[in-house]
Amino acid sequence: MSPKAQLGGIYPRSEQLIELTRSYDRSKTDLDTVKRHVETDTLELVKLQDDSGFETFSDGAFAWQDQLRPVVESLDGVTTGTRYDRWFDTNTFYKKPTIAGKIGVHAFEPKNFIRTDLLPRTKGWKVTLPGPYTFSELSENLNYTSQSDLLSDIAAAEHEIIKRLKDAGVSRFQLSEPCLVYRPYREQALGRNELDNALAALRETVDGIQAKFSVHTYFGDATTILPDLLKLPVDTIGIDLFETDYSKLKIETTKKLALGIIDGRESNAENPEWIAETATRVSKHIIGGDIVLVPNSDLKFVPRRVADVKARALADATRLFEEAR
């Protein structure tokens, strides 16, 4: 095994950018100033990834207001009003999409998703999108009577978005599916039929696109659905190690397992030795595949300087893992 480290999703804004956005919100700063500082934050994260030896770069998604918003803003048939819902069990919120018509994709700028102009051309670029099942679960559906039709149309729309982003140079896509494993907000456990619909939508999303894909679960235990996830036509499956009991797992696979090994919901900086030791322990449960070290979720739930320490620790741990082999 030769693990690499990756970031994904929304990275926390710097205190300076936060101050500017608050000032903009009070009409005391213009939008151009905010945009310029988004670029500064992006370049700082690029440098951090470069200095730490990352190979696939995230741009931090500093302009994203929540994990769904750029997707929503690229779709026909989906709107957001003023209703905010809690993002799982965190003290953060997202604008709840309302699906009011048939879902389609309208023209959009790839830079709404990723700042390719600020990323180095020598590295791979990664974008994180909500998986179709999670998008459907976190939306209010007023249009579709069949879940499979809804999922199929979301998948088709995301497929289209991904194709355009790939044309813009993105090489890796993370499809985040926390709703597959986190369900205390639902009365029913995830049933077989629903899981099959979700998996079918994921297959439809990635079908025929020559890019690398990971399906990442977080905030819940993935053990029961892991065998199903490992059959998906993607190269990487992600699990949240702070929720997943891996002690009884025995995974035979040719895929990579992305270990969510730094906790995006806790400020303690995991030290690289602990990360490497834990990754080594988990790797003993995996036969044939490889591992990737990643945060369990977006790091937007911790302040920026905490996230920076965690990100560096992740990269350092990959080297320690290699040395200990």
């Binding site: 936060i18 009003g81 809690r86 953060t92 190690l241 400020s267 303690n268 937007k300």
Partner: protein, 401 residues
């Protein structure tokens, strides 16, 4: 309360510009123009004397003290002018916000930096770096100012220990025992942290408030419905019961904006909350805007049934007006849209109260309140919403009697 459908305020009120600016820098007479206008509207006869004192206060601490008491008086008078039966603490004018205000008074907690709440809104998030202790009283001075100046009944909202812990990083509290899974370690850390918060911070605070004359303490626990799993609900109940143990005053819980099954789960545990005789809950946010007192029109109040089914026999503070931005249709007779607000009509408030009374089975158990604090609304909108709530409660009384 002897009358049916009493009306209460349960949270914070927007802070005027002069109050916010004056906390960090001296004020000029120009800064107080808005304060003077509102002094006339709210009937604050000694405004000129207080303004002179405020402008003359060169020393920061003196100015801040004057400012906080004055803005508390404004909050109280605004609420009193609407006819509320319980004015809380005048809109929490002396607090930064519900989380950071407490954290600043806790030794061992350090603010780490901002975390996004939504869009361009953030909150400062703290970590427990060592065993925690209360540094100084947190709500006492505010309560003393309120008690001195209020004309109506009071309740004192405080942020609950479960929410404070859930919104913080546990840091020092690591869950101890090795050999546990990472998940179990996190849960054990949360319990250690919670019980210390209760013993070291919240109980001393309640002791001070009760000794100073507080008769009703509202414990705000918005975080609990975000963790509707048994382990967390049991932890919440354990923390609550330890919090209220031995105190002789009325306790209520305020929990708003739950996850989809949040109230259903809270309803199962509410009867286990010692001394919790009142639940202030949010419903208007998810209710329709048509008039009517049947289940179809009042779909937003459906979850009340769960509390009755589970045997909760206390009072309900029912959210009857929305406190956030509104976009949607407002039928004739139900109110009107004003900018990003809905101004609910007294008739809509009435119907919501009557339906809640029908579900609960006893109108004497129903209080009217906004869904939560009105701090994101202007004072004009706040006045309009609260006046409508008071009028709606009057209409509900007439309809019931």
């Amino acid at each position: 309360m002897s009358k049916l459908y009493p009306v209460q305020e349960i949270g914070s009120l927007a802070k005027p510009r002069w109050r916010t600016k004056g906390l960090t820098q001296p004020l000029s007479s120009k800064d107080l123009v808005e304060a003077e206008e509102w002094a006339q509207r709210l009937g604050i006869p000694d405004f000129q004397d207080r303004a002179k004192q405020l402008l003359a206060a060169q020393e920061q601490n003196n100015r801040v003290r004057e400012l906080l008491e004055l803005s508390t008086i404004y909050g109280l008078r605004l609420f009193e002018q609407t006819g509320l039966d319980n004015v809380g603490v005048g809109g929490e004018q002396q607090r930064v916000e519900m989380y950071e205000h407490v954290i600043r008074g806790v030794e061992g907690m350090r603010v780490l930096g901002h975390v996004q709440s939504f869009d361009y809104k953030y909150f400062n998030k703290a970590v427990a770096e060592s065993k925690i202790h209360r540094k100084h009283p947190i709500y006492l001075q505010e309560f003393l100012d309120v008690k001195k100046n209020a004309k109506g009944e009071l309740n004192v909202p405080i942020t609950g220990p479960y929410t404070l812990v859930d919104w913080s990083f546990s840091g020092h509290y690591s869950g101890g025992r090795t050999g546990l899974s990472l998940k179990k370690q996190k849960q054990e850390a949360k319990r250690e942290f919670l019980l210390d918060f209760v013993e070291q911070v919240i109980r001393p605070e309640i002791r001070d408030l009760v000794d100073a004359g507080a008769e009703w303490i509202q414990i705000d626990e918005p975080a609990i419905t975000t963790h509707p799993e048994p382990a967390d609900m049991d932890l919440f109940v354990e923390g609550w019961n330890e919090t209220v143990r031995g105190f002789n005053c009325k306790f209520s819980d305020h929990t708003c904006y739950p996850s989809e099954i949040g109230y259903k789960v809270l309803a199962q545990y509410a009867p286990k909350l010692d001394k919790c005789t009142h639940l202030a809950l949010e419903f208007a946010n998810r209710d329709g805007t048509s008039l009517g007192i049947d289940a179809k029109h009042r779909e937003g109040y459906r979850d009340l049934e769960y509390f009755i089914q589970n045997g909760y026999d206390g009072e309900f503070g029912v959210g009857v007006v929305h406190v956030h931005d509104f976009s949607g249709h407002v039928p004739s007779g139900s109110g009107k849209e004003a900018g990003r607000n809905i101004l609910e009509s007294p008739e809509l408030v009435r119907d919501r109260l009557l339906y809640a009374a029908e579900v609960v089975g006893d109108p004497a158990k129903i209080w009217a309140n906004p869904d939560c604090g009105l701090r994101t609304r202007t004072w004009e909108v706040t006045l309009a919403k609260l006046i409508s709530t008071v009028k709606g409660a009057e209409l509900a009384r007439e309809a019931t009697q």
